[in-house]
Symmetry: C2
Subunit: 363 residues, 2 copies
């Protein structure tokens, strides 16, 4: 598929103007656009502007409530539960992580559980908010059910990413991974190419290992059984029960602790998705001198990057390194947008007419 490169700043302003046109304030619209573009900057196309069409649909159809105000329903000095009342996920995410950061600054730690939220983009965006305040950030979300538990054949768990950011120099640490072996978007890429997926990514409607990409995707869409495997694959031999357990831990920290719903119920009940999230900020000064801790972590990361490479490999990456390099490159040289997405963005611009900012330049 062909790609064009759009100017980062102009694309950001364009997305912001789209969200303003749906009734968000300037600040809210900027928050939403920031998260979406952060995915493109990090090289995670699936969560970037290619989702604009989906977000616009959710807003225009009323699936997401533009005017909802997330409400604190339970609070302690180190914790809170927010009922997001079906607000836009990225707006909820900013508010929840800001609260976590505030509690971490005053009480050392802030753990915010959110229910009735919506898709919020990449989990790592919110952990980076904490890191920018010299805190450790942790974020998790449940999603639509798509992960099949070990020995099962029905999806019961989401892709359930876990993200963690920690300050380090010169390259901070950013871990942001689905607890499934791959996200659904990878299946879509293989399907477009006409390629079979590797054994260990998915199971068919009988719960058996399958390489049949279109069949697995079809089954997922039709809810016919089968789905994506947890990190580690279909059996305990390669550790599939570990990925499944990590997915369950995300369900616990999101749907359960927030008093919300688990992934098997997401998009199944009434209005909105019901997605639940967890936002944690920890002041690592709870454990001593921050400069010393930061220096020792930086040193260890450097040692890992400098360790002996496997034959045929030129680099060992620490987590976040690739993303940070890509951010710089894409801010300078533009965001790659595929042809289908480009057409979708043009259609969105047309629909909102005069309210749209100038369409971003191809660079």
């Amino acid at each position: 598929m062909g790609y064009v490169y759009l100017d980062y700043r102009e694309l950001l302003r364009f997305c912001q103007s789209v969200f303003c046109s749906y009734g968000f304030s300037e600040t809210e619209a900027e928050e939403i656009a920031d998260v979406i573009l952060a995915a493109d900057l990090n090289g995670i196309e699936s969560h970037g502007v290619q989702r604009m069409v989906r977000y616009v649909f959710e807003l225009s159809s009323g699936m997401v409530d533009v005017h909802a105000k997330p409400e604190i329903v339970h609070e302690t000095p180190i914790s809170a539960v927010l009922d997001a009342h079906n607000a836009m996920g990225q707006v909820v995410g900013h508010q929840a992580m800001r609260l976590a950061i505030q509690k971490a600054k005053t009480s050392g730690c802030g753990m915010i559980e959110v229910r009735n939220s919506n898709h919020y983009g990449i989990a790592g965006f919110y952990t980076e908010m904490a890191r920018e305040e010299d805190l450790m950030g942790i974020c998790m979300t449940n999603t639509e059910k798509i992960m099949v538990p070990t020995y099962g054949k029905q999806p019961m768990i989401g892709t359930n990413p876990i993200a963690l950011s920690m300050p380090a120099d010169p390259i901070p640490f950013l871990f942001d991974c689905a607890t499934t072996v791959v996200p659904r978007g990878k299946f879509e890429v293989y399907a477009k190419r006409g390629d079979a997926v590797p054994v260990g990514w998915g199971v068919d409607e009988k719960g058996l290992d399958s390489e049949d990409t279109p069949r697995i995707l079809h089954n997922i869409m039709e809810r016919a059984g089968g789905g994506i495997l947890p990190l580690g694959g279909s059996s305990e031999k390669m550790g599939g029960h570990k990925g499944y357990g990590l997915g369950m831990i995300v369900e616990l920290f999101t749907g359960i602790l927030s008093g919300g719903i688990t992934s098997d119920q997401v998009y199944q009940t009434g209005n909105g998705s019901g997605i639940c999230q967890s936002y944690i900020a920890i002041d690592y000064g709870l454990f001593g001198n921050k400069a010393e801790i930061r220096a020792s972590f930086s040193e260890y990361l450097e040692k890992i990057r400098n360790a002996a490479k496997a034959e045929g490999c030129s680099r060992i990456y620490t987590h976040g390194e690739k993303e940070i390099e890509m951010r710089a490159e894409r801010r300078a040289n533009g965001i790659p947008v595929n042809e289908v997405t480009l057409q979708e963005l043009h259609k969105i611009a047309e629909d909102i007419g005069d309210q749209a900012a100038a369409f971003p330049r191809i660079v």
Copy 2:
């Protein structure tokens, strides 16, 4: 290899008497024996009485300091750092998790980082201490370096298990997993059987996928390069970078936050192993009504167990279910002990002579 079954209570008393003979108090000796036998009760032979010979060696050679008293070197209402001063890992673990529990009860959360500790048995033992107090428990430890980072060929990270316990009815949740695809003990089992390990478990001295069990084990022992792969295997395709990142998160929570050392330094510097650990207890009442949260988690776990099974599979297990069934069975019918371990235990009994409790009955 042949197994005999030893009475659980008598084996516990026997181990306790061994540790008393090395200078531990009755209480300390009971704490140590409790952790060791918990591994055997849970079916984790590698961490059970088969390690008695190693613990006895560490005590008799002075590698572990029987009389060391762990010291709080930094403290807040929700956190502490303990310098264990090379004390016995299980004694440290009890003390650290008791402190975490106490802080969770008074402040909602207790995060205890420990440096200069030693091998402490199964991480899940300590999370169960928190669960028994109706709290969530989390525990991590670094270990000797054995995990090769993605694209590397030298071990830089430990097996680095993560454990998490959460109350639920009728079956609590207990996740306790190495972040390597398998622990080293699995390689030893395959080596004894003369079997090749599956691709994705280990790499050779060049950092390339290898099925050559004796070679991988030999390389690990000789520090000749190569080692065990992270959960997800050798490449990003199957998510190896995720297991590697989880291993790094454990290093952060143990060696880094405690002001101690990372796995690449464990057993490399001066006295003792320098192993570091993290003990976290969270009162889930921080997020609302505990009975409601517990009930909703119990219901979700039940739903998972009752979900449709893959062809050829009769059960879906939730984490901890197998262990809890096995505990009951082994308390009743005895602990399986292999012939080599049996001889080692007889030798230990001889060496300490009259101080040993009666040798446990074969049942």
